[in-house]
């Protein structure tokens, strides 16, 4: 997710990139053909290199037809992944989980650091209306949609009315989740600035808190409906309170620690600190059942808004993330379960279309009530379509909590997220282009010389 900024690259550059891409595919293909018996850890290093290089090159080539870099990363992963060319095997895809953890931590840190108090104040009205209306409309709208199409879904067809209401409610919760990673990915690539970008960033980052709350409440309400016995348990609310307060407290402490580091030592060694924080603290937060995304987001927010170290933190994350995010999204592409998608696509597509329509309708309504700028009224919804790791994580959490419907539910989530993951970034990039928010950015991209100042 490097901030390539596009630029006007000529035919020669594109030809070189296409040639390099062919060599990349050819080299790994030859290696896998020469040693078909070898899979697993020996392929991990090559797999990471392939995803990084092929993702970077394909994103550059797809840029010529206006597609966002994220689509290139995803496509590289899909083509090279276990379901198509099998250059990257299942073991490699699974072994890259730490990279995903790191990427999510960096995305949350960057997302929090991008949120300035002044920005939030400037869009507070829009944000309040949008959050309330989007949540209600999409949650209940998608619950109703699943309820209606349930007869076409194998694992739901035999379910009674009350359990079906419970499952539909859970589906509504999943539908409310957005993708911070896709949002940050597109904004980092385009360096967009303007009302659409500001609204998207503020909405998606703050919606994480709403999603955490909704998931807990949704599971609390759905449990007696699906199980058919017992009542509501307030223990879930206690857990939720612990998770939210604990995550905010931890994030605040981490933010202050990072700010102190930046103040005292500067950016020297920060790359390694970020790696340690991303790997180590994510593991720790999972162990103590706190929400890592929320904690890192709060940390970034604290550094940006309570100290003067925000720009330094953002700069360091940009340097680190450029590489990590390419692997993250390309791996997400390789992770796509194509056979499952082939099996469930009619239902999944119906659900995605409905989610898109509901999101659009809710955005129009909230924009009118909040009296948003015309450009936000027209395109504000576009960033809310993407779904990725957060939705998959919640789907998995629900599947574990409700084993009776778990397998089918998580499969449907994976299929729907796959579609939203591919379409969402394209829509958001299109909106930013149409809104004129990326054009100014291209002019701002600075050419960085690698020579030290005294040698340049």
């Amino acid at each position: 997710m490097s901030g390539h900024g596009g630029g006007n690259k000529g035919f020669g550059t594109r030809a070189v990139q296409a040639g390099a891409l062919a060599v990349t595919f050819g080299l790994l293909y030859s290696a896998t053909q020469l040693t078909p018996q070898l899979e697993g850890e020996l392929g991990t290093v090559a797999g990471v290199g392939f995803l990084l290089l092929a993702g970077t090159l394909l994103s550059e080539l797809l840029e010529t037809i206006g597609l966002p870099h994220l689509s290139g990363y995803l496509l590289a992963g899909i083509i090279g992944g276990p379901e198509v060319l099998h250059l990257v095997d299942h073991h490699t895809v699974d072994s890259l989980t730490p990279v995903n953890t790191l990427a999510i931590a960096l995305i949350a840190l960057a997302g929090g650091a991008e949120l300035r108090m002044a920005t939030i104040r400037s869009v507070a009205k829009s944000l309040s209306y949008a959050m309330a209306i989007q949540t209600v409309v999409v949650l209940f709208g998608m619950a109703a949609t699943l309820f209606v199409v349930a007869r076409f879904v194998p694992f739901l067809a035999e379910l009674g009315t009350l359990p079906l209401v419970g499952v539909a409610l859970l589906w509504g919760v999943v539908a409310v989740t957005r993708s911070p990673s896709a949002c940050m990915g597109i904004l980092a690539q385009t360096r967009a600035k303007g009302p659409i970008a500001t609204f998207a960033l503020a909405f998606i980052m703050s919606s994480d808190v709403v999603v955490v709350v909704l998931t807990a409440i949704g599971m609390m309400v759905a449990r007696p409906l699906i199980a058919g016995s017992g009542g509501f348990s307030l223990a879930d609310l206690e857990k939720l309170g612990h998770e939210l307060l604990g995550s905010v407290s931890f994030g605040t402490t981490l933010g202050l620690a990072l700010a102190a580091y930046l103040r005292l030592i500067g950016q020297r060694g920060l790359l390694l600190v970020l790696l340690a924080v991303g790997f180590g603290l994510s593991d720790f937060l999972r162990y103590v059942t706190l929400d890592a995304t929320l904690a890192f987001m709060v940390a970034g927010f604290v550094v940006q808004n309570l100290t003067a170290q925000g720009p330094k933190l953002l700069h360091s994350i940009e340097l680190t993330g450029g590489v990590v995010f390419v692997v993250f999204f390309a791996n997400a592409g390789a992770h796509l379960n194509i056979p499952l998608l082939r099996k469930l696509w009619p239902v999944a597509l119906t659900l995605c279309v409905m989610r898109g329509l509901l999101t659009y309708a809710a955005a129009r309504l909230s924009s009118r009530l909040a009296d948003d700028e015309p450009i936000v009224r027209k395109w504000g919804w576009s960033s809310l379509v993407s779904q990725a790791g957060l939705a998959l994580g919640i789907g998995l959490q629900i599947a574990k909590s409700f084993p009776a419907i778990g397998e089918g539910f998580s499969s449907l989530v994976i299929a729907a997220v796959a579609i939203n993951e591919m379409i969402g970034p394209v829509l958001f990039k299109l909106a930013l282009d149409r809104g004129g928010e990326t054009r100014t950015a291209e002019a701002e991209v600075s050419r960085t010389s690698l020579l030290p100042p005294e040698a340049a």
Binding site: S2, V16, V45, V48, T56, G269, L272, A276, L319, L451
Partner: protein, 428 residues
């Protein structure tokens, strides 16, 4: 928290500390040229010490360590032809390679003979012991000449010769490792002859070097360049590892190709060089943790023999230099001992060999490399300084202001680690 994550965090801490140490801002002038203190620290936390880093843990992270060592080879390859901003003289480079190979051949021959006589190892194991201990440990760290240049103001034709020869000597251990990987039995590329395997390992590096060169030729921006460099290096190293080839040699060739073909070679060097120490020192630490002192009976005899033959061969190297190189005449044969400083690069290569080729011979190679690093630490810099003094290429008055002396250097006469990478200032 899992043990794996704990070890990973530990290595990140070491990398962090080393990035601070070589930063030049905080603790300038701290550490040894070879990073020997990290080697000792590794032994201390390894199975023979506190047991915090068992060998099984190193095996889990094996691909990461091989990648790290390969990255170091890439850095060395990228800077292979250039000292500071000056190109390495081809004649000096050839001499450096030939003399390093001579030292390596002497040690390899001795170990080959003793392995047969004492029935220590047979077949491929014997080859690993001889070639590994001989050629992997024959390089001269490029930091040693710079140390003398910095501390004692050494300047002159002989200093330049030694700097160029030390840099060129890095090719020998890398090629030795490539050969061992090519002739290894049970290699995945069963349909290839050893020669073809060797060519494939080096060829992948050249091809990916060309790919990186053309991709970086048109656009050159830091963010894109990192993606391309990391992608190409990881792909090349990963494919080489998968095919059972020496990833270290592959990436060395890739770096060398970039150094030859890319018009951005200097920018790339400035970009890549700061990563060397933060990557190197965790590898040295892990190498220390993997050192085994009881790989086979009579191990210490073999280690002692290897070190003695190495020093003798260094004297031969010095004799040849002083005989055929006019500026070296005044320095005398002991100038060869000044070239005895093996760097942590040798240690990293021996470590890669020990994790990729399990067995007592590879373990012995690692121990010999570790012992060679410590021996070179005590002998090399001091002998080099004296040799250059005899050649009248040191200037004591300039040395006083060159860099702060550490406590160890003052007390024990032990050399200090170069304050920053060896490329930021020229030897002359």
């Amino acid at each position: 928290m899992s043990g794996g994550i704990a070890v990973l965090l530990g290595l990140l801490v070491v990398a962090f500390v080393s990035s601070m140490l070589v930063g030049g801002r905080t603790i300038r002038g701290f550490g040894l040229p070879s990073g020997a203190e990290y080697l000792v620290l590794g032994v201390a936390v390894g199975p023979h010490g506190l047991g915090l880093m068992p060998r099984s843990m190193v095996q889990i992270f094996q691909p990461i360590f091989v990648c790290a060592a390969s990255w170091l080879a890439f850095v060395v390859g990228l800077g292979y032809l250039i000292v500071g901003r000056r190109r390495v003289h081809p004649g000096r480079a050839l001499a450096g390679i030939a003399l390093a190979a001579l030292v390596g051949a002497a040690v390899a021959g001795a170990l080959w003979a003793v392995a047969g006589l004492l029935d220590i190892a047979q077949g491929f194991e014997r080859l690993v012991l001889a070639v590994g201990a001989g050629f992997i440990g024959c390089e001269t760290t490029r930091h040693t000449v710079r140390w003398v240049a910095e501390r004692h103001g050494a300047r002159g034709v002989l200093s330049d010769w030694l700097a160029d020869m030390a840099r060129a000597s890095a090719l020998v251990p890398v090629l030795a490792l490539a050969v061992l990987a090519a002739v290894a039995p049970h290699a995945p590329l069963t349909t290839f002859t050893p020669l073809l395997r060797l060519a494939a390992g080096l060829g992948i590096g050249v091809v990916m070097g060309i790919v990186a060169t053309v991709l970086l030729a048109r656009e050159f921006r830091r963010d894109e360049s990192w993606g391309i460099l990391l992608g190409t290096t990881l792909l090349a190293a990963g494919v080489a590892m998968r095919l059972g080839l020496a990833a270290v040699a592959t990436l060395f060739m890739m770096g060398l190709t970039l150094a030859v073909a890319s018009r951005h070679r200097l920018e790339l060097k400035f970009m890549i060089q700061p990563t060397e120490k933060p990557v190197l020192l965790p590898v040295v630490l892990a190498a220390g943790a993997c050192v085994e002192f009881d790989a086979f009976p009579k191990l210490w005899l073999v280690v002692g023999l290897a070190l003695v033959v190495r020093l003798a061969a260094e004297l031969v190297r010095g004799t040849l230099l002083s005989a055929f190189l006019a500026p070296a005449r005044a320095a005398g044969p002991r100038i060869g001992l000044g070239m005895a400083s093996t760097g942590s690069m040798s240690l990293a290569l021996a470590f890669v060999l020990s994790v990729r080729v399990a067995g007592p011979a590879a373990s012995a190679v690692l121990l010999i490399a570790a012992a060679g690093v410590l021996l070179g630490e005590f002998i090399g810099p001091a002998e080099l300084r004296r040799a250059l003094e005899r050649a009248k290429e040191t200037r004591a008055d300039e040395a006083a202001d060159a860099a702060p002396h550490s406590l160890r250097q003052s007390v024990f006469g032990i050399s200090d680690f170069p304050a920053s990478d060896d490329e930021s200032t020229e030897v002359r």
